[in-house]
């Protein structure tokens, strides 16, 4: 379990700090180079893409985006899933049945279609205009400029992805709460007159942290995968921004003449996901969690 952890940390570290050490930027194009293979000689260690942009730097930037989306979306899904599961588990009875039925039904919906729908419909300049109106933002501020650029898509992405990833977490938390609520210290808290909310917030949830950590470690790769999926289709991050998904897309298009453009980003994505999944599985086995 140490190896995957090191790999993940290594990739995260490289993504955050790597670009500082490399002489190229992710958006500089050198059309005269056009898709040159990896070489140590000219400094492009992993080669360049069709427009002459250095692949290594783009991959590291992609790492930043993927990790950021992964962490933020997982946070959203934590914020939704943990309270939902805790409330369903603690209140029990009819409410629990209904809440879990909703989770079951949502779990079998083609939610990715809805995510695609959301992103395709709302990632437009019109939305930014509407937001400027409704939230009374300064029309030419850097914030609005960022929104018009990659900002809006990023926000839509990680909200949408978080909103579809909370289901498993809710189930797990509920299961754990069901076990906890029969324990002595909860009776004691009730005898002391604590309200239901306080019991949930101050006793139940902190004691579910173990499970939460395990399943968070498993949610992150799922979200990263979904972001790459959407970016691959062109519905997530767009070029020239370099998400691993867009890099794989470019790689697929240039596959016949420049296979390194597919192999390296695809490999990095696969290795990251593999390590995270391995880590999560290991944690789950170690803590012997049952659903």
């Amino acid at each position: 379990m140490v190896i995957p952890a090191l790999i993940v940390l290594g990739i995260a570290g490289a993504s955050l700090f790597g670009p500082l050490f490399l002489p190229f930027t992710y958006w500089e194009t050198h059309p005269e180079l056009g898709a040159s293979p990896p070489s140590f000689a000219n400094g492009h260690y992993l080669g360049t893409d069709l427009l002459g942009r250095d692949l290594l730097v783009r991959m590291l930037y992609g790492g930043r985006i993927s990790l950021m989306v992964g962490l933020l979306s997982t946070t959203v899904s934590l914020l939704i899933g943990v309270p939902y599961g805790a409330i369903a588990g603690y209140l029990g009875g009819r409410i629990d049945e209904v809440m879990m039925r909703i989770v079951d039904i949502l779990y079998s919906l083609p939610y990715m279609f809805i995510v695609i729908l959301l992103v395709a419909l709302f990632a437009q300049p019109g939305t930014v205009d509407a937001l400027v109106d409704v939230l009374d933002l300064t029309p030419h501020s850097p914030l609005v400029g960022w929104l018009r650029g990659p900002g809006l898509r990023l926000i839509l992405l990680f909200m949408a992805l978080g909103a579809v990833s909370w289901l498993t977490l809710a189930r797990i938390v509920r299961g754990q709460v069901l076990v906890l609520k029969n324990m002595g210290f909860i009776d004691a808290a009730r005898a002391l007159g604590q309200t239901r909310t306080m019991i949930i917030v101050r006793h139940l949830i902190p004691n579910t942290l173990g499970v939460i950590i395990v399943y968070t470690t498993l949610t992150i790769p799922s979200v990263i995968l979904q972001e790459a999926f959407l970016s691959f289709l062109g519905l997530g991050i767009r070029p020239p921004q370099a998400s691993w998904g867009t890099l794989v897309n470019e790689g697929v298009q240039a596959m016949a003449v420049a296979p390194w453009l597919l192999i390296f980003p695809g490999g990095m994505l696969a290795v990251t996901l593999l390590s995270l999944n391995f880590l999560g599985d290991g944690l789950r086995d170690a803590l012997d969690v049952r659903i």
Partner: protein, 307 residues
């Protein structure tokens, strides 16, 4: 039993309704009408087009008209593809996706269960450990990485199979493998876990003591219980498979529903988007109902009414 089926079917209808309604209003809330991308046109013509498609009326009326159309199984005209109705477009695309999906699902079930059983019976050996690791790899490698990699190796270098297209039986091999791969892995893991648990039960010892051959013990007894988590997973599995077709169809240029949906999303073709979401959601509900019925039949320990 019949009551359970009816209760499940009925509880799905409000949800279907919710999906339709939410999609309908979402699509209309988005900035830019479907005609916004057209060439600039004189206002009279734009007004005429809007009247033709019913876009100039208040949303409640559009919604009501849409619902009435649904009762007649009419999903409306496509806004972007001028001569085609949504019904026709979907009718052309869904057999393609259904074929691909069914093949991938069958592959995933067969290969997954077989590999899972293999791993369970050879627990803690090299075979088991490597299968477990392979399963993890299978779950981690995205289908849009695996697909092009397969094409790169098999089609462009070895020249064994075509890289894209649809129509002959050899076109279906690579897409089906790409689509099925993560589910082979997941089902193998589930089967292995289920079988390991089933093999520890008392009746397995009885069956062996009675002299039943190992093969019979496996299939007739252990598998019937061990396979339950797999069947229970089939519902969500099909949902994920449908999602997977979106990417696989793009990569292999297959004219199925996934491809159509992405096109519609890019073009903001409202009725087509809604139509596909509706058709796919209905199909999934029906399938999940079927899976639930099968579960109840197979495992008499489940009581109807329990979630």
């Amino acid at each position: 039993m019949v009551r359970y089926v009816i209760w499940r079917a009925l509880s799905s209808i409000p949800l279907l309704f919710l999906v339709i309604t939410v999609s309908f209003f979402l699509v209309r809330l988005a900035p830019g009408s479907p005609l916004a991308r057209e060439r600039a046109m004189p206002p009279e013509i734009r007004a005429r087009l809007e009247r033709h498609y019913g876009l100039d009326q208040p949303w409640s009326i559009q919604y009501w008209n849409y619902l009435r159309g649904l009762l007649r199984f009419d999903l409306g005209p496509s806004y972007k593809q001028k001569e085609a109705s949504v019904n026709a477009l979907i009718a052309r695309a869904w057999p393609v996706s259904a074929t691909l999906g069914a093949l991938a699902f069958a592959l995933a079930l067969l290969a997954g269960v077989a590999l899972g059983c293999l791993a369970a019976t050879r627990r803690a050996t090299f075979t088991d450990r490597s299968l477990v690791f392979l399963a993890l790899v299978g779950v981690s490698v995205p289908n849009f990485v695996l697909g092009p990699l397969l094409v790169l190796i098999v089609s462009l270098n070895l020249l064994w199979l075509p890289p894209a297209g649809w129509g002959e039986s050899r076109h279906v091999v690579l897409p089906a493998i790409t689509l099925a791969a993560p589910y082979v892995a997941y089902i193998a893991r589930l089967t292995r876990a289920g079988m390991l648990q089933a093999l520890q039960e008392g009746y397995i010892l009885t069956a062996r003591a009675k002299g039943l051959r190992e093969y019979g013990v496996l299939i007739k007894h252990a598998l019937r219980v061990g396979i339950l988590p797999v069947i229970s997973f089939s519902g969500p599995a099909i949902a994920f498979l449908v999602t997977g077709t979106v990417v696989v169809e793009r990569i292999f240029a297959i004219p199925g529903l996934g491809n159509l949906f992405v096109q519609a999303a890019f073009n903001r073709d409202y009725t087509l988007i809604l139509g596909i979401v509706l058709v796919v959601s209905t199909a999934l509900f029906l399938f999940n109902l079927l899976v639930d019925i099968i579960m109840v039949i197979l495992d008499p320990r489940i009581h109807y009414g329990e979630a």
